[in-house]
């Protein structure tokens, strides 16, 4: 019998389609002939030596002789290991002096507003062929630290209300540039999915006197059936009402409502766990396309007792189609507990499963 499960954070009902459920290993991404990428591509705007092809960086992490770390690298005269640059074709832009108070929520027929905001690209590594799962922990820490640094910096603009950080891995998941990068959009409004999460979390807090996500991860630990990986600071699990196959949440154990209020050091704890998760995803599902994104509190909020920042990772293994566009909800053709079990097992046992 199919099942409906409710995402406690958004209130959405997800259809867990048991009658059309597929075994976890059947989701392995078909490897079409994938070319092996070189460490540097001459006409890639994000590769070292082409810095002049992008707008000047707003944040750079330098490393002496960064170019010398890898032998095959044709250039050895660059000194950066991460750059954050304004997007050359921004979805939103800041203009000097624009008054940008958003209109009231009253229903008007044709309501528009200047597209005020910031759109940045985080170039994660100088190496064209080194994807997030291949970064060493130190490099991954720097990527995570840049999320926090940029958020704190953008929070100074009081016209911005929310920073959305996201990553598209591989063309099928929306990456139009091959070179590994994340994106950041700073917005003058709170996006609707976040608004839902804040409202539901706040309601829960008023009723129960504690944070919804704190309560959730406690229960997840008790049962353990959906946990993939954990360390003393973070826990990665497939949520009870996962919207799509292998949807995974990575949640800090300690309660922090945003990166802005998280004391430095979290990135050192998250990097090894995230790396292991991405490596396992890549190994077990044949380097699938995926999207990941951060959900965090609105800018300039001090510690909110009811909201808890986290990362969501959604492999792109099925097609968002008419149902999803019509209803704004999802049909998951994978059982969350089975999917977690599949990702939780060390690689060598996978062969055993495939043989059964």
């Amino acid at each position: 019998m199919p099942m409906l499960r409710q995402d406690p954070l958004t209130g959405e009902w997800v259809i867990i389609a048991t009658e059309r459920a597929r075994r976890p290993e059947t989701f392995a991404h078909k490897k079409e002939e994938r070319k092996t990428l070189p460490p540097r591509v001459d006409n890639c705007p994000f590769c070292p030596g082409n810095e002049h092809l992008t707008p000047p960086e707003v944040l750079i992490y330098r490393q002496r002789n960064a170019g010398k770390a890898e032998k095959e690298f044709p250039q050895d005269n660059f000194d950066w290991s991460l750059r954050v640059i304004p997007n050359k074709f921004p979805a939103l832009e800041r203009e000097q002096g624009a008054s940008v108070a958003m209109p009231s929520s009253r229903c008007e027929l044709f309501q528009s507003h200047p597209g005020y905001g910031v759109h940045e690209v985080i170039i994660e590594t100088p190496r064209h062929n080194r994807h997030m799962a291949d970064l060493d922990e130190n490099e991954l820490e720097m990527v995570l630290r840049s999320f926090q640094e940029r958020t704190v910096s953008l929070a100074q603009d009081e016209q911005l209300r929310y920073v959305q950080i996201f990553r598209n891995h591989r063309r099928e998941a929306g990456a139009s540039i091959e070179h590994p990068h994340c994106q950041l959009l700073a917005l003058p409004y709170i996006p609707p999915l976040l608004e839902k999460e804040y409202t539901r979390s706040h309601d829960f807090y008023l009723e129960e006197g504690r944070c919804l996500l704190c309560s959730l991860i406690e229960k997840e630990e008790e049962s353990g059936e959906r946990i993939i990986l954990q360390n003393d600071s973070f826990i990665a699990y497939i949520p009870f009402a996962a919207s799509l196959p292998f949807t995974t949440w990575v949640v800090p154990r300690e309660h922090y409502s945003s990166l802005e209020v998280s004391p430095k050091g979290w990135e050192k704890k998250l990097a090894p766990l995230l790396k292991e998760f991405l490596r396992r995803l890549s190994d077990k599902l044949e380097d699938p396309p995926y999207n990941f994104f951060l959900h965090t509190a609105p800018l300039r909020t001090s510690m909110l007792p009811y909201y808890h920042w986290h990362l969501e990772i959604i492999p792109k293994l099925t097609i968002v189609a008419g149902w999803e566009m019509a209803t704004g909800t999802f049909i998951n053709v994978s059982n969350p507990e089975e999917a977690a079990n599949f990702l939780k097992m060390p690689e060598r046992e996978k062969a055993g499963i495939l043989k059964q």
Copy 2:
């Protein structure tokens, strides 16, 4: 400067990304070597002669010697022109005697519910290779009539609250079976996007004393700048805050809140307009994948003064990626007015545009 536009029906802000906007003709779908399909495929469960491969139909439109209408047809002994069948692998199912009152909306950590519902497939034509844009008007009328007949029939089950009809055209838009078909899911709850539309429309009604969509199409007619096609009963236009390139709404001019309360005859007016729209979409954008779906009132509501049923058609020309998954909103890289202008022009003038 980029622009934010608010969808009056849902309240969502859409980013109209002028800085990354593409000219309409650049969205034409790249034709990879597409095979020409035969009128019948031996192992297709939806083709005539294979009726035993599907569950028995719940609705059938018969036509004497339907098989004789087309010469190349290998069988000429079937007599149907449309079949509605239960989905063999249903996302939701009805079970006898299940009590299905949905749980309260109070926030519980792990709330689940039996996946009670109905999942049907509308086989639009016996012909494997005749897509909706190629149906003759009479055939298309039958497809539309089946939407209404099935809705009225399913409304008798008081445990069902909403019927979602949708269509996925081509594999890239989620069609896993090649034979032309629509799908119908009858649900024990109101999907969140519909809930938003009802709430916003109701608020508008209380304030303005009239239907939001009636007011909207009146304004669209006044300006005309986003209208693609119209006849005396329907109007097809690209909404002001179109979520994606070429998103089109087809709206009945007369106010009806649902198919249930629409007097027969609407389908005769919609068929020619829908056919012309789909033909034009196919001609001008090289038969792009698309999703379409109906938005209508909850089951068993009499005429609601504030809600107005309509059809939404969304060509799949871009990839739903991290941004959309994170925020539940869209970035439209096409200008709605330009897109409407492109689709509104007769075919031969297109060549002129491409030459400019």
